[in-house]
Point group: C3
Chain length 314, copies 3
């Protein structure tokens, strides 16, 4: 069982993950971070390999922490790009054939779209995507939805706005592919240059969608504000960047027009697209999102390791 694309994830799988993640979250609180014996046995004697062709400390560490909290072990290659075998021109499939002898499950990040799937073809053990280029980041999508459900009590019926770089942001792409399971109203806010690609739009067919370049037009209507960063490097013309960047910055002023119960999310790291003053606002949930990463990845690893349950395909 691999977890490579959000689009292969079933509603049943999602619900099972949320149930277990919530149990892990509760237990962690009760036990003030002490791992219960049951929890500790789930991955006993198992090894997770974290294989990152592109460094990402937060994603890697949350996977490793999740595995350890399940009682398992970790081996790690945090910077595969500079490793001799990849430099020597070994194929991804060959790398997978070799590395999968040394572990029981692999979490892999790669900078190129499709590389995770290619790698999985050579692996003897389950492969979990930790992101491939601008393409997918399915475990991030799951923890994003988990956060929404925990904070709002439900996902169905919500109005969700995705803001910023919708073209290259793999987070919003993976998240979008899960939306088909829910009855939500979607707002897409981005500069023309960074708008949601057609292939993702086609996944969203059936949902009520509003698109605009202007966040202030829609912020008062939504229940979930999902921010991503607009990177200067994406623009060919610096003037284009200057023109739009301020339209995608969240501060206390713009939040005055938002609902009292709206939640603010961000996959992090943020730079200046959410002002630090907003951290004190009770609607800010982006650090809670980062905490949820552990519970959700514990549930995903458990599912993949025990493999006794639900299929991820519909």
């Amino acid at each position: 069982m691999n977890i490579i694309s959000s689009k292969d994830i079933s509603k049943e799988f999602i619900e099972n993950i949320f149930k277990r993640a919530s149990e892990f979250e509760e237990r962690t609180k009760v036990e003030t971070r002490l791992i219960a014996s049951e929890q500790n046995d789930i991955a006993k004697g198992k090894i997770l390999a974290t294989i990152f062709y592109e460094p990402s400390t937060r994603t890697r560490m949350s996977f490793e922490s999740a595995m350890i909290r399940l009682g398992g072990n970790v081996i790690s290659a945090s910077d595969m790009k500079n490793i001799s075998s990849s430099k020597k021109g070994e194929s991804l499939k060959d790398s997978a054939k070799v590395i999968s002898n040394y572990c029981d499950v692999i979490a892999i990040r790669h900078n190129e779209k499709g590389a995770v799937e290619e790698f999985s073809k050579g692996s003897k053990v389950p492969v979990i995507s930790a992101g491939d280029g601008a393409n997918e980041h399915p475990t991030q999508a799951l923890l994003d939805f988990y956060t929404i459900e925990k904070e709002k009590g439900t996902i169905d019926g919500l109005k969700i706005v995705l803001v910023g770089d919708l073209k290259y942001g793999r987070t919003v792409h993976s998240l979008s592919k899960l939306l088909k399971h829910y009855n939500v109203e979607l707002y897409l806010v981005s500069p023309e240059l960074l708008k949601m690609p057609e292939e993702i739009m086609s996944e969203l067919a059936g949902l009520k969608i509003h698109t605009t370049e202007n966040l202030s037009e829609v912020i008062s209507e939504v229940d979930v504000l999902y921010m991503t960063r607009v990177q200067k490097e994406r623009f060919e013309n610096p003037f284009d960047y200057e023109k739009c960047k301020d339209a995608y910055i969240i501060d206390n002023e713009i939040l005055k027009s938002a609902k009292k119960e709206m939640i603010i999310m961000h996959p992090l790291p943020r730079v200046n697209e959410i002002k630090e003053e907003v951290d004190l606002d009770s609607r800010a949930k982006y650090f809670k999102q980062a905490e949820n990463a552990v519970y959700v990845r514990m549930a995903i690893l458990e599912e993949v390791i025990t493999n006794d349950g639900l299929r991820i395909t519909n």
Copy 2:
């Protein structure tokens, strides 16, 4: 409870750490490196994150070894500088808010003064400094004092000489801030260019202090010789370097004028400031210092994790 500056460390805390470190040392010897069951339970189910913005294998590994010998687990970012999130401009506080979800205690090294304290403001879990720029290295100071006490039986009443780069050496700075708890006579030996900064000197008010550029003037008087390296890069004028470098090299010849019971210390790595011939001298304790790193860091981690004890503030 954070361990960020030597100046916040109380005498009571030091004494407790020394007592426990000594117990860990004894037990390690008796059991020929086998970890006793009690010892093995202290950090059971806990995770140490080692976050190094500046690589330092020896300091990182001794922390990790200490955590594992207490029965705990480790996740590691050994080269944070090159990680995407720091490059993207995430604040230290944000990094701490995220990473502290994935562990129970953090040991952090940073190349900039004050960075560890800034990081600690965002952390949900205890933060232990593993050095920040030329500023502090409190756990090194504790293991240095532990070594002195073990080797000399006491610290009070000793004559201690600090030699070499007293301006940029964070080791001697952190060590100096602990000296207020003891009644020692201090000798500061360095080239004018690398003399102890005023702010540290003010911490030492109350101690009897001798300063000189000439080690041979004082070596016969002292009980502890604490060497640090004089780096060529610190000098604007290469001629200044050439002039003073030989005055700060320890060999068998210069040791003839030293006391028979004097001990020689060095935070390591050494290059040529202590000749290899000195390693055979029974007064050489710098490798014993490196060994003590594990026992002292075990005691510090235990203190921070169990957190049931003494405050580090006076």
Copy 3:
């Protein structure tokens, strides 16, 4: 007990390693990767440090996986070259004196011949070579022989061809030094420029040896085909490279003239010297070789840790 050169490894040691590796292999299959309690206790409370001055994910990970499967723990420096202490000019012996305080056994890779032995002089704990420059890779040699014995039932009496870069390939060098224990017929196939060095040839005195530049001349006669890669960088004249490179590529066509029971080996990574089509041939054993790495390194680590057994010297 150190494992530094194949030439110090006795027949008795090899046989013991093969017996235990085979037991680990069997147990792993039966338990579908679950570690038995007995197995899990062999390295309990022990720490392996993997110290790689030259990155090698596959070798490092297989050592780490082996240690964890024995119930032990791992600390790791996967890129020592860029670490401050080596850059500052610390000697290998000093590094060993310090690092060996933090672990119970060290697996070390270095890019320079002799560096592993130099390092071992400072270490308090057993040192296992994970390769030093073009010189040695004794644990690879052991797993290569293990693979031959498992696949062919015996080593004595076999005809073995070593193909490719016999000058710089440390794998074939270490392997050659073990051959003295066996009665084999050896074929050496390489371009003149990359032929086996004289010092290795003298180790092989007593064996029947055929040398040629032409693989097709001998492929029909051999029982074991051991491929290594011919790297373009080794040639001063690109024309020399072009001339010989195709003579050392294995595809289905050339395999038609090989024995039905011949086995194909490669230390990996391979680039194009074995075509991917060959992977489907039942004679292809190079990925099985990579799997065997774990079992053999488990046996080696067990031997070194328990240290209750056979000497590696004759």
